[in-house]
């Protein structure tokens, strides 16, 4: 996996740069940018993890919680700068339903093919379920419904909700890293892992990768409109499905690998933790970044997006709520993802 990523990066990055310099066809350029970001996101994830291991479990947990979705954050800020608010919201939606349904679905399915029934901590599943109901559903549905007849309040409402959400995310970290660390005991096993790179090397890799991701994301964001017009795909479909998948591909593959090895607590933590991070950290930070850049982002999602996220949270709550999984539960999550994908395609 590791080598495959490096080869992909070594092939796709030079071609993307060449294509950008020589103004190749924009659809080709979009595809190349996608292929470049996939391994870059993976490498950034590994570098963050190495730094986390060097920093000890608590600071490491904070680092993972802050930089774990750095690629989404960079793409989001660039799209916001260009005024592509719909793409920003679509990629938030897509990351959440992608992590909840596609990643969890593939993990349950692949793991379930090898192991008839797989078990995981009900406590972690249930804490995550409440957090998702709050951070994904309440924090995103309430502004949409309360601004129905009074769209003028969208701005202050978004800022207020983003502040509360971010505060709760920080409290959640304090809970899992400090006051109730023991119940997240699977993290112990993580602590025994050896770092892949030395601290200095990892920081260097992270810094360089971030710069390249910034450059390539700029190309990605710039070419979305052409792709949308030429292929007839709506910008919302590109954001929800394409951008979300490439930004999370690396995490997806680790979660599935963990499930195959029957380490379901880790697999679940990647899928659910990543959704929470998008909803309760990336989204609020984008709201504040938008204010700072003078491109205020209002977290007023469309009804299809809200329905998709709400139903995904409820389905995953039911699937994970009993602390057990099997291949059929994986197939159900994938089926739900397909139904949503078809819906966004036709939108």
């Amino acid at each position: 996996m590791h080598r495959f990523m490096l080869i992909l990066l070594a092939l796709a990055l030079p071609l993307t740069i060449a294509g950008s310099v020589f103004h190749w066809n924009e659809i080709l350029l979009f595809a190349l940018a996608c292929l470049t970001i996939i391994p870059l996101a993976g490498i950034m994830g590994r570098a963050t993890e190495s730094i986390a291991i060097h920093s000890g479990p608590r600071v490491g947990g904070l680092l993972n919680a802050t930089f774990g979705n750095a690629v989404e954050l960079i793409i989001g800020i660039l799209a916001l700068k260009k005024g592509l608010h719909e793409v920003v919201q679509a990629s938030i939606t897509g990351s959440i339903i992608g992590n909840l349904l596609l990643v969890l679905g593939l993990s349950f399915l692949v793991g379930g093919i090898r192991h008839p029934v797989q078990q995981f901590s009900r406590m972690i599943a249930s804490t995550n379920a409440s957090m998702m109901m709050l951070g994904v559903v309440i924090a995103l549905v309430i502004p949409a419904i309360f601004t129905l007849n009074k769209p003028g309040i969208a701005g202050p409402l978004s800022v207020g909700v983003a502040s509360i959400t971010l505060l709760l995310y920080i409290l959640g970290l304090y809970f899992s890293l400090f006051t109730h660390r023991k119940i997240f005991s699977y993290t112990e096993s993580m602590e025994e892992e050896e770092a892949e790179w030395t601290l200095g090397k990892a920081i260097g890799i992270l810094a360089v990768s971030s710069l390249i991701v910034g450059y390539v994301s700029e190309i990605l964001v710039r070419t979305i409109e052409t792709v949308s017009v030429t292929l007839g795909w709506s910008e919302i479909f590109i954001g929800v499905i394409i951008v979300a998948i490439i930004g999370n591909a690396a995490e997806h593959s680790s979660a599935i690998l963990m499930a195959w090895n029957n380490r379901m607590d880790l697999s679940l933590e990647i899928a659910l933790g990543s959704s929470l991070q998008i909803a309760m950290f990336v989204a609020p930070v984008l709201v504040f970044a938008g204010l700072a850049m003078g491109h205020p982002l209002q977290l007023i999602f469309s009804w299809p997006e809200l329905a998709a996220m709400t139903l995904a949270v409820i389905l995953v709550t039911l699937l994970a709520g009993d602390g057990e999984s099997n291949w059929l539960e994986g197939a159900m999550a994938l089926g739900a993802y397909l139904i949503l994908g078809i819906g966004f395609y036709f939108l």
Copy 2:
């Protein structure tokens, strides 16, 4: 019970035929057709079960899963032919909420009067809950929300969603009949049952009953409009409450009998399994049948129907989720059914 049904059939069928030939009052004819279908549905259910027992557990399970709601399917196809799309959707809605709230409610209430607390497999309840969230809620809510601003996509969206739902239903059968048969251990007891009729006799009874149901359903569907106009009942109320109850009356009585005898797993399986069959087998097959007949059925339900089905699924998930039932939980489900019934009456 068995004899009562034969007497009812022996009285109602000749009168229905006479009424149809001599053009009796259409409201009387509608009532007679209803009274004829109740025992016929029961007999078809028994014949299917006999064939299933002769065929062994796996083929038998498949047969039950395919022909278990044959009456609904026949009524649906006939109504579709006449272009009564609203009646088709209403009877799907009605079968789902009827099985979830009326049947389950009566079972919990009647069983709970005799037994203070009744227990059943949480695993089966939880697998069914996820399936209902997917097959009833997501598969029916998503098309309605995604076509809000773009009604033109209803056709392809319905076909896409119906295909995924049907595939998942088949995977669900594969799961319960093949890979994870053991957890559905209560089916073992079913295997020990003796068939009521020989294979040949059962097939004959099933074939003849199907023909009669087809004939009587034609009368039922034809007279709905007159009943609606004369009595002032909306077609949606007739479909949701009346047609749904008569098509499921036989199953209803077995589920309640099982609960009285404290065989809650079987009772639950009838109520929940039947709802799933309607949502994930009958509804998609009607979509494909509509395409084939040139009367395409778009699965875009009205908001009252969607609210009724969604809330029924969530309530039943809560009621059954703890693996225990009592009479108050039965009363709650019946109360919800009554609230919905009043709502559809006034609609």
Copy 3:
């Protein structure tokens, strides 16, 4: 606590009377009325409890269930008389989300600061969850959705739904006080408590307090409009947040005290039981009272109110569903309350 309340009452009541007689500034008068009702509600709760202890557990349970929210009932009837239907609905909404999110949130948070994990009966949590889904969500959402295209049916629908809800509330009491009393075993401990006042004294205190509450509520209801216009707060915000908090302040403090002493079953019973009482007893009684007074109340809530109540019920179901609580779960409930509060403020 007890003494503090008496002092508050001794100071606030004379000032309220003086202010009313000498026509002081209406905003000051509103604030004084609020400060008077807080201790009065507390004293009425204690008097009801004393009478309940003297009457034995069954009649006592009935009394608590009937007069436990007497203040809300009095305020509701007075507001109904003045035709302030929106305020009535807002204070119902506010009492429900206040009990579910604010009281439960503070209890979980305060209790969780002292005890890392607190446990309570899953059976009681789950019975309450189903009841709330029925009494809060289904009974209030269905009328709103079914009257969307047919507002004329709001009247009969409200009466029908209110009748069913009230009947189920009575059945629920019969369940917890008669057929299934044992599972509510924590009530035993209550039976050992000594009554604070003799029966005669308690009845006297209750009667006098009710009269004063009626007088002060009249002032409160009369001044709402001025407060709304002068401070720029919407009537819905005043109803949902201010009126609801002052009407429940006494209960709030007992629930939090119970949680601090790790008696979570009692704490949960106050928070959940009080919400159920508002939805399934106070609301239907107000519908019937409205009919009797010739000011029919239609229980058609606004979308923001319905969303707030529905999401509160789902979040609390998830938080309490596992039979355990911790400080983070408390913070989540408070976060949800804050988000809703901000939303209603801007509305």
